[in-house]
């Protein structure tokens, strides 16, 4: 029996994000959430392993109470157990602290795991750091950006493309991979499965105290980085709006910008001189 752990993150779905100006962090409570796309691929990789081997999948997330939704989704798709880490003390954790907390939860709930799967990166903070830092915290061999996994006995074979090298790596369990979005196209949860996941499955909810962490240990061992300031990237866009019929706007557009486009493509673009046609 293989014990798989999939780390999932809920990310905001909206494009315009509410920020807490004082702390410089995202007001996640104000945004609609969804499962981070790369995490979906990691979950899919785990589900495919489960189809071919006898395996148990534990899904784990850390976040505000609403993040429970991603665990319900994972349960509906075939995860066997779900762990939710939720505590105000942990809000604003950087990747250093997050990997520390995840480690504590994994040691408590599934210490005999064989493989941990994470998404290669998230769409919000995009650090791609939690996976490798979790591997370091648990002292595991690891590979990032994995496109394809094979399991032979206790050996994991991973294929990936990094810095223009196509690599095949091997390592023994226990191990950690972060899964890219090249393969493992995620399946979708049927309504029946979702309903069942909401009605029946229990989600284990852990707070900092349950993990043996308190305010001072989090302060001492926790986040190393601090966001001092958040600002909108300077918008230097002209933002000219053209409206009208398709043919009228195309004429207007080309009259204004054909020289610019011509310079880039290295060809002259000119309005035909009416005299030429006479």
């Amino acid at each position: 029996m293989l014990n798989l752990i999939v780390c999932l993150k809920q990310v905001p779905m909206v494009t315009e994000l509410p920020w807490d100006e004082k702390t410089g962090t995202l007001r996640r409570d104000l945004a609609d959430g969804m499962m981070n796309p790369a995490c979906k691929h990691a979950l899919e990789a785990a589900l495919q392993i489960k189809e071919n081997f006898s395996a148990n999948i534990m899904a784990i997330t850390m976040g505000p109470p609403a993040a429970e939704e991603v665990l319900r989704e994972a349960l509906a798709l075939g995860a066997d157990k779900a762990i939710m880490i939720c505590d105000k003390l942990l809000a604003g954790s950087d990747t250093y602290a997050t990997s520390l907390v995840l480690t504590a939860a994994i040691k408590k709930e599934c210490p005999k795991f064989d493989l941990i799967l994470c998404g290669a990166y998230t769409t919000d903070s995009e650090t791609a750091q939690v996976g490798p830092q979790l591997a370091e915290e648990l002292n595991l061999p690891a590979a990032a950006y994995v496109e394809k996994l094979e399991i032979h006995g206790r050996t994991l074979r991973a294929r990936r493309l990094v810095d223009n090298f196509r690599e095949t790596l091997e390592m023994e369990f226990p191990a950690l991979v972060t899964v890219s979005m090249e393969n493992y196209r995620p399946r979708y949860a049927g309504l029946a499965g979702l309903k069942e996941a909401f009605d029946e499955n229990e989600i284990v909810i852990l707070n900092a105290k349950a993990l043996g962490l308190n305010a001072s240990s989090i302060d001492k061992k926790g986040s190393r980085t601090k966001v001092r300031n958040v600002f909108l990237r300077k918008a230097q866009k002209g933002n000219v709006l053209l409206q009208g019929t398709a043919s009228a706007v195309v004429t207007e557009f080309l009259d204004k910008y054909q020289r610019k486009i011509g310079t880039v493509i290295g060809k002259a673009i000119e309005e035909k001189n009416l005299d030429d046609e006479k």
């Binding site: 796309p37 990094v162 190393r224 600002f231 909108l232 866009k237």
Partner: protein, 334 residues
């Protein structure tokens, strides 16, 4: 060795793909500027086998000191071995800052190193500065580059950042320049790598890729259907560019995955980007950070993509496409 060693800014020598990947040289250049402010030296790390070429290059491009380990055991990149080596060196020499290029390798390696050194790390920075008292100000993009965050590691050292290639300009080489080159022996208790590299090959990518195209024509669901979407190819061809696609379009089978632009796909930096029928979901706009001049065509003038554009054309995307092709055919002089 004296106790009071000079303060030091380290740059990790990521020499693989040297001629395309200049990020190490760019970081050395930035480190030189930062080092002046805090009166430190710039130290480049090079671990590998037969590395004299890189020692020479990093010296010529501005490093004051090189820490080099040249050994057949380091012939290929190894996260676990580099971790052990740098952990050792950092404990002995206390660098103020360690900078690592945000290559795939750097993005995988740096987080583990930061954890090993029990310090902070910011990811994929697009700006670096330093205060007089040595606090590294790390500017990192967030939410697809729509936001920037200024990150600091206040209490822990070294301060670490991975930095996006192309952020800084390298210093022109000067092969007369000298650096202190310390050739160090391989540590005795170097751990065996638990990750085994079974096979690798340089991937034979087409020389021309969407990542380096100067004109890109992107299409989204607003194109209506697959047939209309395919016409984007015609515009791309007229302009000598490539076609890009959003995730829903790729999932619907209108375009190949290789055309996917965005968080999950390609990050593009065209001089001109046409965006047809794209609302501007973050998954897509995340890949557009470097587009120079954006023309968005969408029925809805309020769409995010329209607000990001230099020119926003509020009309049916497919109609505009057809007219634009027709009109360009008339106007382009070969």
């Amino acid at each position: 060795m004296t106790k009071s060693r000079k303060k030091s800014i380290w740059v990790f020598g990521d020499y693989r793909n040297y001629y395309q990947n200049r990020v190490t040289l760019q970081l050395i250049a930035r480190a030189v500027a930062l080092a002046k402010i805090i009166k430190a030296e710039v130290c480049a790390l090079i671990f590998g086998h037969e590395i004299d070429e890189w020692i020479m290059e990093y010296t010529a491009h501005g490093a004051d000191r090189i820490l080099a380990i040249d050994d057949p055991a380091l012939k290929s990149y190894s996260t676990e071995r580099y971790l052990a080596i740098i952990e050792n060196l950092a404990k002995e020499r206390d660098p103020e800052v360690i900078l690592i290029g945000a290559t795939d390798f750097g993005r995988e390696f740096a987080p583990r190193l930061a954890k090993r050194l029990k310090t902070g790390l910011s990811a994929d920075c697009v700006g670096l500065d330093i205060t007089q008292d040595g606090l590294l100000l790390q500017v990192a993009p967030s939410f697809g580059g729509n936001m920037l965050a200024e990150i600091v590691t206040e209490r822990h050292r070294p301060q670490m950042a991975t930095v996006r290639p192309g952020t800084f300009k390298e210093i022109p080489h000067d092969y007369v320049r000298k650096a202190v080159v310390e050739r160090l022996p391989l540590m005795n208790n170097l751990p065996k790598s638990r990750v085994r590299l079974i096979e690798y090959e340089r991937s034979v990518e087409k020389e021309h890729t969407i990542e380096n195209a100067s004109v890109i024509v992107c299409g989204g669901r607003g194109m209506g259907n697959k047939e209309k979407f395919k016409k984007l190819q015609e515009l791309a061809k007229l302009l000598g560019g490539d076609v890009g696609a959003t995730r829903p379009v790729v999932y619907a089978g209108w375009a190949d995955h290789s055309a996917l632009v965005g968080q999950a796909g390609k990050h593009i930096k065209p001089k001109i980007l046409f965006s047809f029928g794209i609302s501007g979901a973050i998954q897509h706009t995340a890949g557009l950070g470097e587009a120079d001049f954006i023309i968005a065509i969408n029925k809805n003038p309020q769409a995010t993509m329209m607000k990001m554009a230099d020119v926003a054309i509020a009309a049916d995307a497919s109609d505009v496409l057809n007219n634009l092709i027709k009109e360009l055919k008339k106007r382009i002089r070969e």
